[in-house]
Amino acid sequence: MTSSKDIPDTDLDDWTSTQQSALIADIASHLDVDAGLREILLTSRHAAVLEDVTDKLDIEAGLSAIVDTEETTPTVAEHPDALFQPPAATDIANTVVKLITTLPPETRLVLRTHPTIAGCIALAVAHTASREIINFLRVARALNLTHARDIARDLDRGLDRGLTRDIARDIARALDRALAHALAHDRDLDRARALALDLDHALDRALAHALDRALDRFNRPAHEAVAKPLAILRQTPSTDRATILVTLGDTLNDLVGADLSGVDLTDVPLDGIRWSLDTQWPPDWRAQIERDSESVPGTADIFIIRGGSHTETRV
Protein backbone atom coordinates (compact mmCIF):
# COMPACT_ATOMS: atom_id res chain seq x y z
CA MET A 1 0.00 0.00 0.00
CA THR A 2 1.22 3.50 -0.77
CA SER A 3 2.08 5.64 2.23
CA SER A 4 1.31 9.31 2.53
CA LYS A 5 5.02 10.01 2.42
CA ASP A 6 5.07 8.77 -1.18
CA ILE A 7 3.09 11.78 -2.35
CA PRO A 8 5.04 15.05 -2.50
CA ASP A 9 3.29 18.34 -1.63
CA THR A 10 3.60 19.59 -5.19
CA ASP A 11 1.76 16.53 -6.46
CA LEU A 12 -0.99 17.10 -3.92
CA ASP A 13 -1.28 20.74 -5.01
CA ASP A 14 -1.39 19.75 -8.67
CA TRP A 15 -3.96 17.09 -7.98
CA THR A 16 -6.25 19.30 -5.88
CA SER A 17 -5.94 22.09 -8.44
CA THR A 18 -6.92 19.76 -11.28
CA GLN A 19 -9.76 18.29 -9.24
CA GLN A 20 -10.99 21.77 -8.31
CA SER A 21 -11.07 22.83 -11.97
CA ALA A 22 -12.90 19.64 -12.94
CA LEU A 23 -15.41 20.18 -10.13
CA ILE A 24 -16.09 23.76 -11.19
CA ALA A 25 -16.53 22.72 -14.83
CA ASP A 26 -18.88 19.91 -13.80
CA ILE A 27 -21.00 22.24 -11.65
CA ALA A 28 -21.09 24.85 -14.42
CA SER A 29 -22.51 22.27 -16.84
CA HIS A 30 -25.58 21.94 -14.61
CA LEU A 31 -26.29 25.66 -14.35
CA ASP A 32 -28.12 28.22 -16.43
CA VAL A 33 -26.22 31.27 -15.23
CA ASP A 34 -28.23 33.74 -17.33
CA ALA A 35 -31.50 32.37 -15.95
CA GLY A 36 -30.14 32.75 -12.42
CA LEU A 37 -29.08 36.31 -13.09
CA ARG A 38 -32.45 37.19 -14.62
CA GLU A 39 -34.14 35.79 -11.51
CA ILE A 40 -32.18 38.16 -9.28
CA LEU A 41 -32.59 41.23 -11.46
CA LEU A 42 -36.34 40.63 -11.82
CA THR A 43 -36.83 40.02 -8.11
CA SER A 44 -34.95 43.15 -7.22
CA ARG A 45 -36.91 45.20 -9.73
CA HIS A 46 -39.87 44.79 -7.37
CA ALA A 47 -37.86 46.43 -4.60
CA ALA A 48 -36.84 49.28 -6.92
CA VAL A 49 -40.45 49.87 -7.91
CA LEU A 50 -41.53 49.85 -4.27
CA GLU A 51 -38.76 52.29 -3.41
CA ASP A 52 -39.86 54.54 -6.22
CA VAL A 53 -43.52 54.40 -5.14
CA THR A 54 -42.55 54.99 -1.52
CA ASP A 55 -40.81 58.18 -2.53
CA LYS A 56 -44.08 59.49 -3.89
CA LEU A 57 -46.01 58.85 -0.69
CA ASP A 58 -46.24 60.67 2.59
CA ILE A 59 -46.33 57.52 4.68
CA GLU A 60 -46.35 59.30 8.02
CA ALA A 61 -49.34 61.41 6.98
CA GLY A 62 -51.19 58.30 5.83
CA LEU A 63 -50.32 56.45 9.01
CA SER A 64 -51.41 59.38 11.18
CA ALA A 65 -54.80 59.29 9.51
CA ILE A 66 -55.24 55.70 10.66
CA VAL A 67 -53.56 55.42 14.04
CA ASP A 68 -52.16 57.61 16.76
CA THR A 69 -48.45 57.78 15.92
CA GLU A 70 -47.44 60.04 18.78
CA GLU A 71 -45.67 57.27 20.67
CA THR A 72 -44.04 55.59 17.70
CA THR A 73 -42.63 58.43 15.64
CA PRO A 74 -39.97 59.89 17.84
CA THR A 75 -38.07 62.68 16.18
CA VAL A 76 -35.43 65.19 17.03
CA ALA A 77 -38.17 67.31 18.60
CA GLU A 78 -38.59 64.60 21.24
CA HIS A 79 -35.30 65.72 22.75
CA PRO A 80 -35.40 68.85 24.89
CA ASP A 81 -32.63 70.37 22.82
CA ALA A 82 -34.04 71.01 19.35
CA LEU A 83 -30.55 71.10 17.88
CA PHE A 84 -29.72 67.64 19.20
CA GLN A 85 -28.85 65.28 16.38
CA PRO A 86 -29.29 61.66 17.42
CA PRO A 87 -26.31 59.46 16.59
CA ALA A 88 -26.71 56.67 14.06
CA ALA A 89 -28.23 53.43 15.36
CA THR A 90 -25.05 51.49 14.61
CA ASP A 91 -22.99 53.94 16.68
CA ILE A 92 -25.39 53.58 19.60
CA ALA A 93 -25.35 49.80 19.29
CA ASN A 94 -21.54 49.79 19.22
CA THR A 95 -21.40 51.99 22.31
CA VAL A 96 -23.87 49.81 24.21
CA VAL A 97 -22.08 46.59 23.22
CA LYS A 98 -18.76 48.09 24.26
CA LEU A 99 -20.14 49.08 27.66
CA ILE A 100 -21.61 45.62 28.22
CA THR A 101 -18.45 43.79 27.19
CA THR A 102 -16.44 45.76 29.75
CA LEU A 103 -18.56 44.24 32.53
CA PRO A 104 -17.02 41.22 34.29
CA PRO A 105 -18.45 37.91 33.05
CA GLU A 106 -20.02 37.14 36.42
CA THR A 107 -21.94 40.44 36.25
CA ARG A 108 -23.11 39.59 32.74
CA LEU A 109 -24.29 36.19 33.99
CA VAL A 110 -26.41 37.88 36.64
CA LEU A 111 -27.75 40.57 34.31
CA ARG A 112 -28.86 38.21 31.54
CA THR A 113 -31.41 36.62 33.87
CA HIS A 114 -32.18 39.61 36.06
CA PRO A 115 -35.98 39.94 35.82
CA THR A 116 -35.84 43.65 34.95
CA ILE A 117 -33.25 43.27 32.21
CA ALA A 118 -34.62 39.98 30.87
CA GLY A 119 -38.07 41.60 30.72
CA CYS A 120 -36.73 44.49 28.61
CA ILE A 121 -34.96 42.09 26.25
CA ALA A 122 -38.03 39.87 25.92
CA LEU A 123 -40.18 42.88 25.02
CA ALA A 124 -37.52 44.02 22.55
CA VAL A 125 -37.53 40.62 20.83
CA ALA A 126 -41.31 40.70 20.56
CA HIS A 127 -41.15 44.28 19.31
CA THR A 128 -38.66 43.49 16.55
CA ALA A 129 -40.83 40.52 15.55
CA SER A 130 -43.89 42.78 15.30
CA ARG A 131 -41.91 45.25 13.14
CA GLU A 132 -40.94 42.42 10.81
CA ILE A 133 -44.55 41.36 10.50
CA ILE A 134 -45.70 44.90 9.72
CA ASN A 135 -43.02 45.19 7.06
CA PHE A 136 -43.96 41.78 5.77
CA LEU A 137 -47.63 42.72 5.46
CA ARG A 138 -46.72 45.93 3.65
CA VAL A 139 -44.50 44.11 1.20
CA ALA A 140 -46.89 41.17 0.87
CA ARG A 141 -49.72 43.47 -0.13
CA ALA A 142 -47.56 45.37 -2.59
CA LEU A 143 -45.97 42.31 -4.15
CA ASN A 144 -49.03 40.12 -4.09
CA LEU A 145 -47.32 37.69 -1.69
CA THR A 146 -44.43 36.98 -4.05
CA HIS A 147 -41.90 36.99 -1.23
CA ALA A 148 -44.19 35.72 1.49
CA ARG A 149 -42.37 32.47 2.03
CA ASP A 150 -38.88 33.97 2.18
CA ILE A 151 -39.86 36.63 4.67
CA ALA A 152 -41.81 34.16 6.80
CA ARG A 153 -38.63 32.05 6.97
CA ASP A 154 -36.63 35.09 8.06
CA LEU A 155 -39.21 35.64 10.77
CA ASP A 156 -38.87 32.03 11.92
CA ARG A 157 -35.14 32.53 12.20
CA GLY A 158 -35.79 35.68 14.24
CA LEU A 159 -38.00 33.70 16.61
CA ASP A 160 -35.27 31.14 17.03
CA ARG A 161 -32.88 33.67 18.54
CA GLY A 162 -33.36 32.05 21.90
CA LEU A 163 -36.20 33.91 23.58
CA THR A 164 -35.81 33.74 27.29
CA ARG A 165 -39.28 34.75 28.29
CA ASP A 166 -42.41 32.75 27.50
CA ILE A 167 -44.50 35.88 27.15
CA ALA A 168 -42.35 37.25 24.32
CA ARG A 169 -42.32 33.89 22.60
CA ASP A 170 -46.11 33.67 22.91
CA ILE A 171 -46.63 37.15 21.50
CA ALA A 172 -44.33 36.50 18.59
CA ARG A 173 -45.85 33.09 17.86
CA ALA A 174 -49.37 34.52 18.06
CA LEU A 175 -48.38 37.13 15.49
CA ASP A 176 -46.87 34.40 13.35
CA ARG A 177 -50.08 32.37 13.50
CA ALA A 178 -52.18 35.42 12.62
CA LEU A 179 -49.88 36.05 9.70
CA ALA A 180 -50.08 32.44 8.55
CA HIS A 181 -53.86 32.68 8.68
CA ALA A 182 -53.87 35.85 6.61
CA LEU A 183 -51.55 34.26 4.09
CA ALA A 184 -53.49 31.05 3.91
CA HIS A 185 -56.62 32.92 3.01
CA ASP A 186 -54.93 35.56 0.88
CA ARG A 187 -57.18 38.19 2.38
CA ASP A 188 -57.66 40.42 5.38
CA LEU A 189 -54.10 41.72 5.00
CA ASP A 190 -55.24 45.25 5.87
CA ARG A 191 -56.94 44.06 9.03
CA ALA A 192 -53.93 41.95 10.00
CA ARG A 193 -51.69 44.97 9.49
CA ALA A 194 -53.94 47.21 11.61
CA LEU A 195 -53.83 44.64 14.42
CA ALA A 196 -50.08 44.30 14.09
CA LEU A 197 -49.69 48.12 14.27
CA ASP A 198 -51.80 48.24 17.44
CA LEU A 199 -49.69 45.55 19.03
CA ASP A 200 -46.50 47.27 17.86
CA HIS A 201 -47.55 50.50 19.59
CA ALA A 202 -48.40 48.60 22.76
CA LEU A 203 -45.04 46.86 22.74
CA ASP A 204 -43.27 50.16 22.11
CA ARG A 205 -44.91 51.76 25.14
CA ALA A 206 -44.34 48.65 27.29
CA LEU A 207 -40.66 48.66 26.35
CA ALA A 208 -40.27 52.35 27.23
CA HIS A 209 -41.88 51.72 30.63
CA ALA A 210 -39.77 48.62 31.23
CA LEU A 211 -36.62 50.64 30.50
CA ASP A 212 -37.80 53.32 32.96
CA ARG A 213 -38.25 50.65 35.62
CA ALA A 214 -34.81 49.21 34.87
CA LEU A 215 -33.25 52.67 35.13
CA ASP A 216 -34.96 53.22 38.50
CA ARG A 217 -33.64 49.86 39.66
CA PHE A 218 -30.02 50.43 38.60
CA ASN A 219 -29.70 54.19 38.84
CA ARG A 220 -27.31 54.27 41.80
CA PRO A 221 -23.56 54.71 42.04
CA ALA A 222 -22.85 51.02 42.66
CA HIS A 223 -24.62 50.08 39.41
CA GLU A 224 -23.40 52.92 37.21
CA ALA A 225 -21.88 50.54 34.65
CA VAL A 226 -25.30 48.95 34.11
CA ALA A 227 -27.30 52.19 34.29
CA LYS A 228 -25.23 53.88 31.60
CA PRO A 229 -26.19 51.65 28.65
CA LEU A 230 -29.80 51.63 29.88
CA ALA A 231 -29.84 55.44 29.93
CA ILE A 232 -28.45 55.53 26.40
CA LEU A 233 -31.17 53.11 25.26
CA ARG A 234 -33.89 55.17 26.94
CA GLN A 235 -32.73 58.22 24.93
CA THR A 236 -32.51 56.21 21.70
CA PRO A 237 -35.35 56.75 19.21
CA SER A 238 -37.89 53.97 19.62
CA THR A 239 -37.41 53.01 15.98
CA ASP A 240 -33.95 51.65 16.90
CA ARG A 241 -34.32 50.88 20.58
CA ALA A 242 -35.66 47.33 20.30
CA THR A 243 -33.07 46.21 17.78
CA ILE A 244 -30.23 47.52 19.93
CA LEU A 245 -31.69 45.86 23.03
CA VAL A 246 -31.78 42.53 21.18
CA THR A 247 -28.10 43.08 20.38
CA LEU A 248 -27.50 43.81 24.07
CA GLY A 249 -29.17 40.50 24.91
CA ASP A 250 -26.94 38.67 22.42
CA THR A 251 -23.89 40.35 23.98
CA LEU A 252 -24.91 39.25 27.48
CA ASN A 253 -25.17 35.68 26.18
CA ASP A 254 -21.76 35.84 24.54
CA LEU A 255 -19.13 34.34 26.82
CA VAL A 256 -16.77 33.33 24.03
CA GLY A 257 -13.25 33.34 25.49
CA ALA A 258 -14.45 34.53 28.92
CA ASP A 259 -12.80 33.41 32.14
CA LEU A 260 -15.45 31.94 34.45
CA SER A 261 -13.10 29.63 36.28
CA GLY A 262 -13.67 31.38 39.60
CA VAL A 263 -17.43 31.91 39.26
CA ASP A 264 -19.95 29.91 41.29
CA LEU A 265 -22.46 28.65 38.72
CA THR A 266 -24.74 26.89 41.20
CA ASP A 267 -28.37 27.57 40.19
CA VAL A 268 -27.31 30.05 37.53
CA PRO A 269 -29.44 29.57 34.39
CA LEU A 270 -27.02 28.96 31.53
CA ASP A 271 -29.43 28.16 28.71
CA GLY A 272 -28.60 30.20 25.61
CA ILE A 273 -25.01 31.07 26.52
CA ARG A 274 -22.51 30.94 23.66
CA TRP A 275 -19.00 29.82 24.52
CA SER A 276 -15.82 28.67 22.84
CA LEU A 277 -13.07 26.19 23.52
CA ASP A 278 -11.04 28.91 25.21
CA THR A 279 -13.86 29.86 27.58
CA GLN A 280 -12.65 28.87 31.04
CA TRP A 281 -15.29 27.14 33.16
CA PRO A 282 -14.95 26.01 36.77
CA PRO A 283 -13.25 22.60 36.46
CA ASP A 284 -16.15 20.62 37.95
CA TRP A 285 -18.65 22.24 35.54
CA ARG A 286 -16.96 21.74 32.21
CA ALA A 287 -18.09 18.14 31.57
CA GLN A 288 -21.75 18.93 32.21
CA ILE A 289 -21.61 22.09 30.11
CA GLU A 290 -20.11 20.13 27.23
CA ARG A 291 -22.91 17.56 27.59
CA ASP A 292 -25.56 20.29 27.54
CA SER A 293 -24.08 22.20 24.58
CA GLU A 294 -24.33 21.94 20.85
CA SER A 295 -22.23 23.47 18.09
CA VAL A 296 -23.37 26.73 16.58
CA PRO A 297 -24.02 25.84 12.92
CA GLY A 298 -21.30 27.00 10.58
CA THR A 299 -18.67 27.19 13.30
CA ALA A 300 -16.23 24.58 14.53
CA ASP A 301 -15.49 25.85 18.02
CA ILE A 302 -18.43 27.97 19.15
CA PHE A 303 -21.10 26.25 21.22
CA ILE A 304 -24.46 27.13 22.74
CA ILE A 305 -25.85 25.70 25.95
CA ARG A 306 -29.25 24.08 25.52
CA GLY A 307 -31.14 22.99 28.65
CA GLY A 308 -29.63 20.97 31.48
CA SER A 309 -30.68 20.56 35.08
CA HIS A 310 -28.60 23.47 36.33
CA THR A 311 -30.39 25.83 33.96
CA GLU A 312 -33.86 25.48 35.40
CA THR A 313 -33.88 27.72 38.42
CA ARG A 314 -31.86 30.34 40.08
CA VAL A 315 -32.06 31.42 43.68
Binding site: S4, I7, V33, G36, I40
Partner: protein
Protein backbone atom coordinates in the same frame (compact mmCIF):
# COMPACT_ATOMS: atom_id res chain seq x y z
CA UNK B 1 -5.85 38.79 -5.92
CA UNK B 2 -9.51 39.52 -6.40
CA UNK B 3 -10.26 41.07 -9.73
CA UNK B 4 -13.67 42.10 -8.43
CA UNK B 5 -12.43 43.66 -5.22
CA UNK B 6 -13.21 47.32 -5.23
CA UNK B 7 -11.95 50.40 -3.58
CA UNK B 8 -12.55 50.90 0.11
CA UNK B 9 -13.81 54.36 -0.67
CA UNK B 10 -17.49 54.90 0.19
CA UNK B 11 -19.70 53.97 -2.74
CA UNK B 12 -22.46 56.31 -3.87
CA UNK B 13 -25.94 55.46 -2.66
CA UNK B 14 -28.22 53.95 -5.26
CA UNK B 15 -30.63 56.64 -6.40
CA UNK B 16 -34.18 55.93 -5.29
CA UNK B 17 -36.16 57.40 -8.17
CA UNK B 18 -36.61 56.45 -11.80
CA UNK B 19 -34.87 59.71 -12.73
CA UNK B 20 -31.58 57.87 -12.27
CA UNK B 21 -32.03 55.03 -14.73
CA UNK B 22 -28.42 55.37 -15.84
CA UNK B 23 -27.20 54.73 -12.33
CA UNK B 24 -29.38 51.62 -12.11
CA UNK B 25 -28.02 50.40 -15.45
CA UNK B 26 -24.44 50.88 -14.30
CA UNK B 27 -25.25 49.14 -11.00
CA UNK B 28 -26.81 46.21 -12.88
CA UNK B 29 -23.95 45.93 -15.36
CA UNK B 30 -21.36 45.83 -12.61
CA UNK B 31 -23.32 43.30 -10.59
CA UNK B 32 -24.08 41.13 -13.64
CA UNK B 33 -20.38 40.96 -14.48
CA UNK B 34 -19.61 39.89 -10.93
CA UNK B 35 -22.44 37.32 -10.93
CA UNK B 36 -21.34 35.67 -14.18
CA UNK B 37 -17.76 35.37 -12.96
CA UNK B 38 -18.52 34.34 -9.41
CA UNK B 39 -21.64 32.19 -9.16
CA UNK B 40 -20.00 28.91 -10.18
CA UNK B 41 -16.90 29.33 -7.95
CA UNK B 42 -19.22 30.28 -5.08
CA UNK B 43 -21.19 27.05 -5.51
CA UNK B 44 -17.88 25.16 -5.70
CA UNK B 45 -16.81 26.85 -2.46
CA UNK B 46 -19.98 25.67 -0.69
CA UNK B 47 -19.65 22.16 -2.10
CA UNK B 48 -16.09 21.99 -0.75
CA UNK B 49 -17.46 23.14 2.62
CA UNK B 50 -19.77 20.11 2.52
CA UNK B 51 -23.01 21.44 1.02
CA UNK B 52 -24.92 19.20 -1.38
CA UNK B 53 -24.62 20.69 -4.87
CA UNK B 54 -28.31 21.55 -5.31
CA UNK B 55 -28.43 23.15 -1.84
CA UNK B 56 -25.20 24.99 -2.65
CA UNK B 57 -26.83 26.43 -5.78
CA UNK B 58 -29.84 27.63 -3.78
CA UNK B 59 -27.72 29.18 -1.03
CA UNK B 60 -25.41 30.83 -3.59
CA UNK B 61 -28.40 32.29 -5.43
CA UNK B 62 -29.92 33.65 -2.17
CA UNK B 63 -26.55 35.16 -1.32
CA UNK B 64 -26.26 36.80 -4.73
CA UNK B 65 -29.71 38.33 -4.25
CA UNK B 66 -28.53 39.86 -0.97
CA UNK B 67 -25.34 41.02 -2.69
CA UNK B 68 -27.40 42.73 -5.38
CA UNK B 69 -29.53 44.48 -2.78
CA UNK B 70 -26.48 45.65 -0.78
CA UNK B 71 -24.19 46.15 -3.77
CA UNK B 72 -23.35 49.77 -3.02
CA UNK B 73 -22.13 48.99 0.46
CA UNK B 74 -20.00 45.94 -0.37
CA UNK B 75 -16.33 46.70 -0.90
CA UNK B 76 -14.95 43.17 -1.36
CA UNK B 77 -17.73 41.19 -2.99
CA UNK B 78 -15.76 37.99 -3.58
CA UNK B 79 -15.03 37.55 0.13
CA UNK B 80 -18.43 38.98 1.10
CA UNK B 81 -20.43 36.36 -0.80
CA UNK B 82 -18.32 33.54 0.63
CA UNK B 83 -18.75 34.83 4.16
CA UNK B 84 -22.50 35.36 3.81
CA UNK B 85 -23.04 32.08 1.94
CA UNK B 86 -21.12 30.12 4.62
CA UNK B 87 -23.43 31.49 7.30
CA UNK B 88 -26.54 30.92 5.19
CA UNK B 89 -25.50 27.34 4.59
CA UNK B 90 -25.02 26.87 8.37
CA UNK B 91 -28.55 28.15 8.95
CA UNK B 92 -29.85 25.96 6.14
CA UNK B 93 -28.24 22.92 7.78
CA UNK B 94 -29.74 23.82 11.16
CA UNK B 95 -33.22 24.17 9.64
CA UNK B 96 -32.91 20.91 7.74
CA UNK B 97 -31.85 19.17 10.93
CA UNK B 98 -34.77 20.58 12.91
CA UNK B 99 -37.42 20.15 10.23
CA UNK B 100 -36.55 17.47 7.71
CA UNK B 101 -40.00 17.85 6.09
CA UNK B 102 -38.86 21.24 4.88
CA UNK B 103 -36.43 19.62 2.47
CA UNK B 104 -38.87 19.34 -0.41
CA UNK B 105 -37.03 20.18 -3.62
CA UNK B 106 -37.89 23.60 -4.96
CA UNK B 107 -34.72 24.87 -6.51
CA UNK B 108 -33.66 28.16 -8.01
CA UNK B 109 -33.97 28.72 -11.73
CA UNK B 110 -30.18 28.79 -11.77
CA UNK B 111 -30.27 24.99 -11.96
CA UNK B 112 -31.13 23.45 -15.30
CA UNK B 113 -34.59 21.88 -14.99
CA UNK B 114 -33.08 18.43 -15.50
CA UNK B 115 -30.74 18.91 -12.55
CA UNK B 116 -33.30 18.91 -9.71
CA UNK B 117 -32.56 16.24 -7.11
CA UNK B 118 -32.13 13.39 -9.55
CA UNK B 119 -28.90 11.49 -9.10
CA UNK B 120 -28.33 11.96 -12.81
CA UNK B 121 -28.36 15.73 -12.28
CA UNK B 122 -26.15 18.02 -10.25
CA UNK B 123 -26.20 15.78 -7.17
CA UNK B 124 -24.16 13.23 -9.12
CA UNK B 125 -21.29 15.74 -8.96
CA UNK B 126 -20.68 14.50 -5.42
CA UNK B 127 -19.94 11.00 -6.66
CA UNK B 128 -17.79 12.02 -9.60
CA UNK B 129 -15.04 13.88 -7.77
CA UNK B 130 -12.65 12.04 -5.48
CA UNK B 131 -11.55 15.29 -3.88
CA UNK B 132 -15.02 15.76 -2.39
CA UNK B 133 -14.98 12.30 -0.84
CA UNK B 134 -11.55 13.06 0.63
CA UNK B 135 -12.69 16.46 1.93
CA UNK B 136 -15.76 14.86 3.52
CA UNK B 137 -13.47 13.05 5.94
CA UNK B 138 -12.15 16.35 7.35
CA UNK B 139 -13.58 18.26 10.34
CA UNK B 140 -15.56 21.39 9.45
CA UNK B 141 -12.79 23.84 10.43
CA UNK B 142 -10.29 22.10 8.13
CA UNK B 143 -12.82 22.06 5.27
CA UNK B 144 -13.42 25.79 5.83
CA UNK B 145 -9.72 26.49 5.62
CA UNK B 146 -9.32 24.31 2.51
CA UNK B 147 -12.32 25.99 0.81
CA UNK B 148 -10.83 29.48 1.30
CA UNK B 149 -7.37 28.20 0.33
CA UNK B 150 -8.66 26.64 -2.91
CA UNK B 151 -10.09 30.06 -3.80
CA UNK B 152 -6.74 31.80 -3.40
CA UNK B 153 -6.92 33.28 0.08
CA UNK B 154 -3.83 33.45 2.29
CA UNK B 155 -3.64 32.29 5.91
CA UNK B 156 -3.93 35.83 7.36
CA UNK B 157 -6.92 36.57 5.10
CA UNK B 158 -8.61 33.30 6.09
CA UNK B 159 -7.88 34.01 9.75
CA UNK B 160 -9.66 37.33 9.43
CA UNK B 161 -12.67 35.77 7.71
CA UNK B 162 -13.02 32.93 10.22
CA UNK B 163 -12.20 35.05 13.27
CA UNK B 164 -9.28 32.87 14.35
CA UNK B 165 -5.51 33.28 14.62
CA UNK B 166 -3.34 32.85 11.49
CA UNK B 167 -1.41 30.15 13.36
CA UNK B 168 -4.63 28.21 13.84
CA UNK B 169 -5.31 28.51 10.10
CA UNK B 170 -1.85 27.20 9.25
CA UNK B 171 -2.29 24.35 11.71
CA UNK B 172 -5.68 23.40 10.23
CA UNK B 173 -4.25 23.64 6.73
CA UNK B 174 -1.35 21.40 7.65
CA UNK B 175 -3.63 18.80 9.23
CA UNK B 176 -6.00 18.95 6.27
CA UNK B 177 -3.21 18.47 3.76
CA UNK B 178 -1.81 15.57 5.79
CA UNK B 179 -5.24 13.91 5.92
CA UNK B 180 -5.90 14.51 2.23
CA UNK B 181 -2.51 13.11 1.31
CA UNK B 182 -3.13 9.99 3.40
CA UNK B 183 -6.60 9.65 1.96
CA UNK B 184 -5.34 9.90 -1.60
CA UNK B 185 -2.44 7.56 -0.95
CA UNK B 186 -4.93 4.90 0.13
CA UNK B 187 -6.66 5.32 -3.20
CA UNK B 188 -3.45 5.06 -5.18
CA UNK B 189 -2.33 8.67 -5.11
CA UNK B 190 -2.97 11.57 -7.45
CA UNK B 191 -3.15 10.75 -11.10
Amino acid sequence: MDEHDRSDEPQPTLPATHAAQDAYRSHDTEFSDFYRHSIVPLIGFLVVLGARPADAADVAQETMLKAYQDWNTITHPKAWVRRVASRAWGRHMARSHEDPVDQLPEHTSLLHPASGIEASGIEAVEQRHTVLQALATLPLRQRQVMAWTFDGYSAPEIAKELGIEPAAVRSSLLKARRSLTACLAQEGGPE
